[in-house]
């Protein structure tokens, strides 16, 4: 079980070193190669920050994110949760963007579009597609960006958020094929049930701290999840209590 990437004492504050508003606090985590790892937690628990740190688009305030030496920066692709495309490319053009070094070759673009079930929609303009289709196009872009599945990593922030059930099933299938071929997937999910379905490993975050990490079965067991979402559940109960007499 080779480690793919390690978070070593990573803290992240978007306000510099003042310990105010820490998005992540002393996070230690190991991601294993060839697996799908889900980062779960409530909103604002630090899932997206962890993915952005892993993708290298932000630097940690403290600590380090260390990728295994065999892993090249060019074999990593990141799909943020929200993304605006400031040009009206077709689906195919979007998928073929590749990396700053070069475009993705046509065969790889075809394979990526096929994997997300959009090969026949390649000529359609990105902006005239549905939200779910757009999300699949962006995952396909990430798939086409990495050269081979083997030894590469996909970092996906809430990749299922605008998909309907059939699309979810198809994307889960595509991600399984990717890890089956030796690739690694790290994704953030707020839906623990879906995480159990897709992931072999999981990291549970709460307010920027790691609450549990390890095999998906144990981390995502109902008992452990209660702790992950406890705060939010309590807050919801409080809110309900506050609202009731006023309704």
């Amino acid at each position: 079980m080779e480690p793919l990437m390690t978070f070593r004492g990573v803290s992240m504050s978007f306000f510099g070193h003042s310990m105010r508003g820490m998005a992540l606090e002393s996070v230690d985590a190991v991601f294993v190669q060839g697996r799908t790892t889900a980062i779960v937690g409530a909103n604002a628990s630090g899932k997206s920050t962890m993915l952005r740190l892993a993708a290298g688009v932000i630097r940690p305030t403290e600590g380090a994110v260390v990728w295994s030496r065999a892993q090249r920066a060019t074999s990593r692709a990141f799909v943020p949760q929200r993304s605006a495309l400031a040009a009206d490319f077709t689906a195919r053009e979007t998928v073929s963007l590749g990396t700053a070094a070069k475009e993705a070759p046509a065969a790889r673009v075809d394979a990526a579009l096929e994997a997300v079930g959009l090969l026949s929609r390649g000529h359609v303009r990105y902006h005239s597609m549905s939200g779910g289709e757009q999300q699949r196009v962006r995952v396909a872009r990430a798939l086409a960006q990495v050269e081979h599945a083997d030894g590469s990593a996909l970092l996906l922030d809430e990749p299922f958020s605008s998909l309907d059930p059939a699309e979810v099933a198809r994307l889960v299938e595509a991600l399984r094929a990717f890890t089956g071929a030796g690739g690694s997937v790290i994704l953030s999910l707020h839906d623990a049930g879906l995480a159990r379905e897709v992931a072999q490993a999981a990291i549970a975050l709460r307010q920027g701290r790691v609450l549990a990490s390890g095999g998906a079965d144990e981390v995502l067991a109902p008992a452990s999840l209660r702790a992950v979402y406890a705060h939010e559940m309590l807050e919801a109960t409080e809110r309900a209590r506050w609202l009731r007499p006023r309704l």
């Binding site: 688009v57 692709a77 400031a86 040009a87 009206d88 990396t99 700053a100 902006h127």
Partner: protein, 333 residues
């Protein structure tokens, strides 16, 4: 796709050809009249200079617009709508006013191009700071800020105009409306074309990076785009091109807005094709406007070309504005 480029190229050549046959000429009794006739030995240099000047300004403004649209990921961006052109004219007016009050030559203050460059940099920096505060998300708010900034800069230039002597004032007013000089120096034409072609080659060389820049910042950075150097490069290209065009011909509006969109509509959104297509469209738009200007007789000579581009481009900008509330679709005309 090649066919579309051929069509654009033929259109540019046709317009240049027509332009060579239109303009002021002697009527045989010593009067200067406007008319359509094959150029003579006397009129030829004027016509060629006008064509080269209009083409160069179109090229510069169009590429500046494209660079600024990529920099701000904003379809409403252009040197004119962001106030960069007005900033550049303010810079030129500053230099002229300084020269007039001190009695020194304009060259002592960096010349017109130096002033234009400083003014353009000032405007672009202000707009850039505004864009960062709005995190670049709201295209309309930024365009609004740019238009207001442009208004302030133009008024400041008008204020300075009162400082310069009467003789120069008329020139400055006409120049502020956007006017291609009648007989520009060959050296300035060469300089303009060189700047334009170098910028075009640079943008074309990095076309693939510009494509990636159209993605979300995080996505582009993760794909290996170095955001800061790329943006600084676009900032410089957009500013220098606009400044050169303004120093030469005044703030001619909307060419930098219309040309990139026309190129997207006609050719492609991919920058490898979009960059040369935008350059051609810029040349076509300004040659067309210049030709139209020659054809319109308002009784008091010919209108400045900036009046034509504003009359045609202004409504286009408003139309674009009305579309840009429908997230993303404003890039698709």
């Amino acid at each position: 796709m090649t066919l579309r480029f051929v069509v654009l190229l033929v259109l540019a050549c046709l317009l240049a050809g027509f332009r060579a046959c239109v303009g002021p000429q002697a009527d045989g009794q010593g009067n200067i009249v406007f008319g359509v006739a094959l150029p003579t030995l006397e009129t030829m240099p004027y016509r060629l200079h006008a064509i080269a000047g209009a083409g160069a300004v179109g090229l510069l403004l169009a590429l500046s617009g494209l660079a600024l649209q990529a920099l701000l990921r904003n379809p409403l961006a252009s040197p004119f709508t962001l106030g960069v052109s007005s900033g550049a004219s303010f810079g030129v007016a500053c230099v002229l006013a300084l020269a007039a009050t001190t009695g020194l030559s304009a060259q002592a203050f960096g010349g017109e191009f130096g002033g234009a460059l400083a003014g353009a940099a000032l405007s672009l920096t202000l707009v850039w700071m505004l864009a960062k505060r709005a995190s670049g998300r709201d295209a309309v708010a930024l365009a609004l800020a740019g238009v207001v900034l442009g208004g302030v800069m133009s008024s400041a230039a008008m204020l300075l105009e009162q400082v310069v002597p009467r003789g120069l004032r008329g020139d400055l007013l006409a120049w502020m409306a956007g006017r291609i000089p009648e007989l520009p120096a060959v050296s300035s034409l060469l300089a303009l074309w060189s700047i334009g072609i170098v910028a075009m080659l640079l943008l074309w060389r990095f076309a693939h990076v510009l494509d990636l820049l159209m993605l979300d910042d995080d996505e582009a950075a993760a794909a290996g785009v170095r955001l800061v150097p790329t943006r600084v490069g676009l900032f410089i290209i957009g500013g220098v091109l606009a400044a050169a065009a303004v120093a030469f011909a005044g703030p001619i509006g909307f060419v930098g807005l219309v040309a990139p969109h026309a190129a997207r509509l006609f050719v492609s959104h991919r920058h490898a094709l979009l960059v040369p297509a935008t350059a051609l469209c810029g040349v076509i738009v300004l040659l067309g406007a210049d030709l139209l200007r020659q054809a319109l007789d308002v009784g008091t000579g010919r209108l400045p070309v900036g009046v034509i581009t504003a009359l045609a481009g202004g409504p286009f900008f408003l139309w674009l504005l009305s579309r840009s509330r429908r997230g993303g679709s404003e890039w698709n005309l």
